[in-house]
Symmetry: C2
Subunit: 504 residues, 2 copies
């Protein structure tokens, strides 16, 4: 039996005849449910329904939208067991703590924060110039297409994640494009979303779901005249194809692409607590098979005895810790290809764990090393993202050389510098941070980048090509909501015709 898509409030068969099935990454077994690969006709219907829903939604009071979020959050809580079981089946991510204790609660929290933000309305940045009788605020923008990533079935997913919450909080309907690795999880979420929409009295096409698209239909979708904006979290090649299509049509697209998340560790802090940092680094780099956007992929070190001791420590842990469990054969293949690229360019394999594991898709923990001078000879190649449990250590001869490495970095989501607690490395810190700061969205001190707190001050964003726009964050309400808005100004508009928040 082929699963129905969700279009215009009803579950209905896709017009597509091709199908796909998800795979259990722990066993390699193909899961029974069949999902359609949508045709343009499915997209076209969803677009028309979304445009109609927007006409209603943009006039809908915020408390109804907030009620939807609250109801949906509650429903995720009520159905936590089934949701976590299904997400585990499709993603192989550990039930606990990851899915049950971290990712699902985070997702529920984001939905509740979205409800609060909608009620509060501060994200609208209302501005009243009473003397000139000119007023402005941020208004909803129109239907938003959300492409969810492989690595977070809930928290960044197309039907419940941060982009979904931000788009709807602003008053826009969402066309969710599930990630094909976990279509049933997306379907179960959408069933609950539909109920919550009904309970809150929102247009039923506020949430629609497609499971899979041909690449050319994705490009057509993000550039369609009925779409206002899209959000994509995923691989750089796919993201850039969508960006090109959206840009050419003058449509907004918010991308979260690859990032190597450079971490600089100075010798002084290694002298202070090298073994502790080795464990801290391995925990961050190997957690979840390293399948995080903020995984620390490049570590920049200064030639010194504490650095060599740190590298030995990390090497031992990479060898001793369990193999990385990856989400699909595709992720394994891409990781192998990236490691091969880095090795061909001259990185030495200095530690390799065992790939033996009961799971189907595994990869040995892989630690590579290159000198900064070699890195500087091919800075682009050495910034190849190795998505998964592989890390590249770059050893510089001096702070000046380390600075040159930082200067050659592409835009990243995060960048981190560890320095001696006693302040003895503050001058080196200043020199390096000056170069690193404009190249990353989030600068960390003495802390690994893998935690992305849901904070109003968070920036889960950064300069191109980490994202497509350095103004905006994908995590952190209310700032993330502003992505899906347009600035609306009212000039001499009669009082009773103004939105409530702009009246005298």
């Amino acid at each position: 039996m082929i699963r129905d898509i969700l279009v215009d409030g009803s579950w209905r068969p896709s017009s597509g005849t091709e199908t796909f099935q998800a795979v259990n990454p722990l066993t390699g077994d193909t899961l029974p449910a069949q999902f359609p690969i949508s045709t343009w006709d499915d997209c076209d219907r969803a677009l028309t329904a979304a445009a109609a829903a927007f006409e209603v939604l943009r006039e809908t009071p915020g408390d109804r939208i907030a009620a939807f979020f609250d109801r949906y959050a509650e429903s995720l809580q009520e159905h936590a067991d089934e949701l976590v079981a299904q997400a585990h089946l499709e993603s192989g991510l550990p039930t606990t703590p990851r899915l049950r204790d971290v990712e699902l609660p985070r997702t529920i929290n984001q939905l509740r924060l979205a409800a609060e933000a909608v009620r509060d309305g501060g994200w609208r940045l209302p501005t009243i110039d009473a003397a000139a009788n000119i007023r402005s605020y941020l208004a909803p923008i129109g239907p938003v297409c959300v492409f969810g990533p492989s690595n977070f079935p809930f928290a960044f997913g197309a039907v419940a994640g941060g982009d979904f919450a931000a788009a709807i909080a602003a008053g826009n309907p969402v066309i969710a494009k599930a990630h094909p690795l976990h279509p049933e999880t997306a379907r179960m979420l959408a069933v609950l979303a539909v109920e919550a929409l009904r309970d809150a009295g929102l247009p039923s096409a506020t949430v629609q779901l497609l499971y899979h698209l041909k690449p050319e239909d994705g490009e057509r979708l993000v550039s369609d005249h009925r779409i206002a904006a899209s959000a994509f979290t995923g691989s750089k090649p796919s993201g850039l194809r969508l960006k090109r299509a959206a840009d050419d049509a003058g449509k907004l697209i918010f991308l979260e692409l690859s990032s190597t998340n450079p971490v600089v560790i100075l010798p002084g802090v290694l002298a202070e607590r090298g073994p502790q940092l080795a464990t801290e680094f391995c925990d961050s780099a190997l957690m979840g098979g390293g399948q995080f956007c903020t995984n620390p992929g490049i570590v920049l070190l200064l030639a010194s005895e504490p650095t060599e001791a740190f590298i030995r420590d990390v090497s031992q842990q990479y060898q001793a810790r369990p193999a990385g469990r990856l989400m699909s054969a595709g992720v394994v293949a891409a990781l192998n290809a990236s490691v091969a690229t880095l090795r061909t360019a001259g990185a030495a394999l200095i530690a390799e764990g065992s790939a033996a594991d009961t799971a189907a898709f595994t990869h040995a923990n892989t630690l590579l090393r290159v000198s900064a001078s070699d890195w500087l000879g091919q800075p682009q190649t050495f910034q190849t993202e190795a998505f998964g449990n592989a890390s590249l250590f770059v050893v510089a001869a001096s702070v000046a050389e380390a600075s040159e490495v930082l200067r050659a970095l592409e835009g990243n989501l995060t960048g981190c510098i560890y320095s001696a607690k006693d302040g003895s490395e503050d001058a080196d810190y200043d020199a390096l941070a000056h170069v690193l700061r404009p190249r990353v969205g989030r600068l960390l001190n003495d802390k690994m980048p893998t935690g992305v707190a849901v904070s109003p001050a968070m920036n889960h964003g950064g300069p191109y090509p980490a994202t497509g726009n350095p103004h905006f964050t994908a995590v952190g309400i209310p700032a993330s909501i502003r992505r899906f808005t347009a600035l609306h100004c009212f000039d001499n508009v009669r009082q009773h015709r103004l939105p409530a928040c702009l009246r005298d």
Copy 2:
């Protein structure tokens, strides 16, 4: 003698050998000064200098940047006579009131508001999550290239206008590309800017000036790795070429392109004060030869006796008022081409003034009329912007038909609805405003769109293709500053290393 370009703090010869001269639009005489068409080599030097200036500027205290704006504003005031005389010579715009009493004071005011905004710092949207020790604010982004338009030598100009002020207020150096219609005005402004930079102690390459570029070098400039963002105000074809280049390189570009600025005038308000509105409309539409981005190009009317009386009134005024003085032979040619396009599509010429005038580049006031049903047959063609003193009246048979016209509109900077003061047309207003609102950046009531107040609540922006990004305004400090920033987050960064505004 060929004028020098301003690169890296010095006036030096361009490496280009081709030159151009400005023309006095009132006489048609070529002005004596010769200006270079820059080569890529000029751009390359300017980019390197801008990148170096940014390294200093981004760490420069705001009070020094504010001092630059204050000093520059003062200097424009001191040299008002020469500046106005030169701008008049090159643009043909009236010395008074336009240049002396409106545009230059507005420009000076914008610079002073930029100084205030820099001192205030609120535009940075500082956000502190003390519990999580995560903080963020909007930081300068890097060198900005500003392409000034033909129609505002001061207020939107590349060396003193709104984009220039916003980019520097955020802490970014500007590479100004003057408009080739008024290069000497731009040069005089740059001379004063250099003095103000020196007085304020800012890097000398904070302001650089090129007069003219080959189109391919413009595209290379906006996509260069040393540029962070560009701002362009001008024609759609040129803007879209730059957008494509910038988009492909992942660079930000803020565009202000064409706009037909639809004005809806309902019969009830015409019954109340038709003759007064005819004059109000003609003043707005014919002012400055109609060469404003917010010129009301399309007027949507409902078939009725008051509408016919209004059309007769306007026709008489179009015939009786003086010819439009345009800025160049190119503007005249483009306007003629647009009028021909509209007429070929089926618009009737219902009033034409005299083209006789002492000025060299003139155009007869031109009033065109088409039925809404004909307009709806070719909505794209009938939205051809006729930049200058030509207007298209579209007469609809009903509110429903008028609504269809609005629904077919492209994104516009402004949209306006006049309705009866007595409230009798409020239901029609609601129906039409619902459709118009998301299609414009600024919605006006009972007021023509040509005044763009410098207000914090202003939106001089709008949906594509009026601009490239519906979030942002080009006029209105501090909102306009935010265009040239990147969101910088500090996670667990030690207190003394934080920017002052993010410390506890």
